[in-house]
Amino acid sequence: MLSSSFFTGLIIFFLKEQSTRLRTALNLVGAAFKVIAVHYMAYRLLVLDHIHQASFSMGLGFDFVLRVDFLSLMFLALSSNLWLVTTLYAVGYLEGSPNRSRFFGFFSLCVTACTGIAMAGNLITFFIFYEFLTLVTYPLVVHRETKVALEAGRTYLWYTILGGALLFLGVVWLQVIAGPLEFVDTGALEALGPDQHNILRIIFLILIMGLGVKAALVPLHGWLPVAMVAPAPVSALLHAVAVVKAGAFGIVRVVFDVFGRDFAGFLGLLAPLAVAASFTIIYGSLRALSQNDLKKRLAYSTVSQISYITLGAAVIASFSTVGAIVHLVHQGIMKVTLFFCAGNFAEILGLHNIRDLKGVGRRMPVTAIMFTVAAFGMIGIPPMAGFVSKWYLGLGSLHGGSGWIVGVLVTSSLLNAAYFLPVVHSIWFEPSGREWKTIRPSRLEAPWMLLVPPIFTAAAALFAGLFAYWNWSPLGLARQIALGMGVYP
């Protein structure tokens, strides 16, 4: 599993810059292989109830554990599928630009790290891959080699390394007082007795701060809008699957599998977390309103959307749990679509600013349709995927007795509409006052490699909403996960 992308990455480093075909083939084969492996595992897990597990001892009082449970499977399926699509997109996007071997090498390693994060069976293994992810995404962020990119890379590193150090402290501390914690045995902390509770609270705070950097919780979100200088496929991957999602996934793991949701609630830790998440949601949306650069607007939208996951994890109600887990997937496919489209606008016509997008719907109808679909999803218009997540989050907060969260959700949806609808409006309905300068001519509106990925992901976003009640849809899986945790009614 891990090796399918790890070795691909290593081999690609040593390929010559010119051998494009071989590299593309390797990439796609690796990605396809991984998708197949994930589906095979999904089949084994869901149908045959067989859990894959591998571990070896590190000799430090803990083991290196890889384990596939429902939650990992969900994240795995998301990352492997999106990797395949994004690879295709990146091949088209970077055609003819320098340093592609380096780019695809680190790209593969990045997905390796994600897979590792998904499959990590305890907090320490999780941490190992989490740090690995930091390292391999840095070259992707600075890929353009401009001064701005290097500056952004530095900001990114400062934030993430600091987060890593905090996480390190938290993980070690937890290990000292509670021993190695497998994600399986939830509730071990509960047995520790009340005199340890204060320490546990501090550890929780440290862990969440460490993870919150990547999950872009305000005020730790500063790196994310800056890191937008990266090429579009990188932003897509960073926002939808890799870095941001790793942080959110980590928070879900810490809340559910390390502390246990009810115990964390008992310690009084979840309410502050929910407040922080709500604040982030509103703040991110407000900042998004004032951005003129399309990618920046999307970045702030990510800041806000990711916190839905944290919010869902922080409310003690089964519906919220389902909402959090399902949003992990939904946000991924919708955001990746938006970034693909933004990348297309920038790459084909050179449009970065929102004001320039007027009337672009006539010139690039397919891309514009996909953008619209995904934007509607983000706002949460039924029957799109975003609606399903928000519905569950809202239901959950009512059940959990925190009605104010519904207010947050509604406000945020309104704000989402306020920053997405004008874009959609100007794409379709405003006349373009100028000639289009085509940077990359092609037979269709864009090269097919840039067109197929957004179509695929937008369709996924649509179907995830339409067939939400199907047992194998993201929602269906999320319900099963919640069931597995014993929190679904």
């Binding site: 480093f13 430090l60 930091t134 080699e145 070690v172």
Partner: protein, 451 residues
């Protein structure tokens, strides 16, 4: 290596040379600790030698080769004897041999800057040795013994013993370049030719650290060593981590960055003293102890790799200014990779050897409740990341104005790379190392600490 196998199975051994028995003869003693140090010396020495064969065959360096080889082999031999030695007077003699040959190696390139650096190094090393010898003298006058293990059995206390310990420690600390006695290190390590810097930084300072460990843990075994002294040493350790790493950040020459990074990394080693002498629980003592030795090894490997990679760069570009490193990611991918891998180990990111060391260190710090010590691994890690990425971010920049690069021998790149890989891989096989240290280790902690 065969020796490692023996120790792994049987535990410590002891051998007397020339048929003399303990009080007089030159005793040799081997246990898990010495074996690990010898192992480190062997691996680093071998790869550096391979590297040097090619390094010194270039015309420019050819006349240096005549002096390099005898000095290096001599140094290698005396380093190995340090790790075998079992009495303190002979330890002094061997350390003298090490210092002399090391200082001579520093001056190898013959420029006036390197001569000054070498002279300064030599004087500091001499002063350190004198202090050590004085301590040995006091000890002999007090107890009439020189053998480490016999001395360990003596539990007499007194001002003279304390003075002896103090003198010996100061002497050794000067040689090991703990802050604030680090001033000689950056110039000496920065000016020497690359393979020499690698040896100095990876092995020579570890030699005197080894003797320091022996002195504190075997000879005095906690009888004379007071917690206050241990805390003081620990404080300087923390200061070294922060100061050394900070200095590394503001340097503009690659080799100086690496040299200051040594100052910082050595600081970690000295956290051992407050941890072993202040912790009540023996399990955590062993953990701290293991962590420090682990740090010694992984730092040795990573640092040697960094210096060798820097040597490659100098050969390719003619200078080690940070700006000259642009473009190298394309032209010298393997060297860049080496820098990155060794950097990961220094930063202590998983799954490298440095990570394992830091993990155990932080764990024992938290368990022993000495909070102020935690500043070292956390802050040190951040600062290390800062200077490593200062190096690495340069390699990602393409700059057409700088012409790159002269040819670099494949084997030279490979040997540096191998060292860096080892420093990462040791993290994966940490189990054996830890076993060797904690189960078989030893006399060094058998007396007082081992359960």
């Amino acid at each position: 290596m065969i020796l490692t196998g023996h120790i792994y199975r049987d535990g410590a051994r002891r051998l007397n040379l020339g048929g003399w028995t303990e009080p007089l003869g030159i005793g040799l003693y081997v246990d898990g600790l010495s074996v690990l140090f010898i192992f480190l010396t062997g691996i680093v020495g071998l790869l550096v030698s391979i590297y040097s064969v090619l390094f010194f065959t270039r015309e420019k360096n050819q006349d240096q080769a005549r002096h390099f080889w005898p000095l290096w082999l001599f140094l290698w031999g005396s380093l190995n004897s340090i790790f075998f030695i079992s009495d303190i007077f002979n330890a002094y003699v061997v350390m003298e041999l090490v210092s002399i040959s090391a200082a001579a190696l520093t001056a190898l390139s013959g420029t006036s800057v390197s001569l000054v650096a070498a002279l300064r190094y030599f004087l500091v090393a001499m002063a350190g040795s004198m202090a050590f010898l004085l301590g040995v003298g006091f000890l002999y006058a007090q107890t009439g013994l020189l053998d480490m293990y016999l001395l360990g059995a003596v539990t007499s206390k007194g001002p003279l013993m304390a003075l002896a310990l103090g003198l010996m420690s100061v002497g050794l600390i000067m040689k090991t370049a703990l802050f604030p006695f680090h001033f000689w290190l950056p110039s000496a390590h920065g000016e020497a030719p690359a393979p020499v810097s690698a040896i100095l930084s990876a092995l020579v300072i570890k030699g005197s650290f080894y003797v320091l460990l022996r002195i504190w843990l075997t000879v005095f075994q906690g009888s004379t060593a007071t917690p206050e002294a241990a805390v003081l040493v620990g404080f300087f350790g923390v200061a070294a981590v922060i100061w050394g790493s900070y200095q590394a950040i503001i340097q503009t020459r690659l080799k100086l960055i690496i040299a200051y990074s040594s100052v910082g990394q050595i600081g970690y080693l000295f956290l051992l003293f407050p941890l072993t002498f202040m912790t009540p629980d023996p399990a955590w003592k062993i953990e701290a102890w293991t962590a420090c030795v682990f740090q010694t090894i992984s730092h040795g490997l990573a640092k040697a790799a960094l210096f060798l990679a820097a040597g490659n760069l100098i050969q390719a570009t003619g200078t080690d200014n940070l700006k000259s490193m642009r473009n190298i990611a394309d032209r010298l991918p393997m060297t860049t990779f080496t820098l990155a891998l060794a950097g990961v180990s220094l930063m202590g990111l998983p799954p490298s050897g440095g990570f394992v060391a830091k993990w155990m260190l932080l764990q024992s710090i938290l368990a022993s409740g000495q909070w102020w010590l935690a500043a070292a691994p956390i802050l040190g890690g951040l600062l290390t990341a800062a200077y490593i990425f200062r190096i690495l971010s340069q390699t990602f920049v393409s700059d057409d104005q700088i012409s790159c690069c002269g040819p670099v021998s494949f084997i030279m790149e490979k040997s540096a790379m191998l060292l860096a890989l080892l420093s990462i891989l040791i993290g994966f096989r940490s189990k054996e190392v830890i076993f060797l240290l904690s189960e078989r280790v030893c006399h060094a902690i058998q007396g007082g600490i081992t359960p």
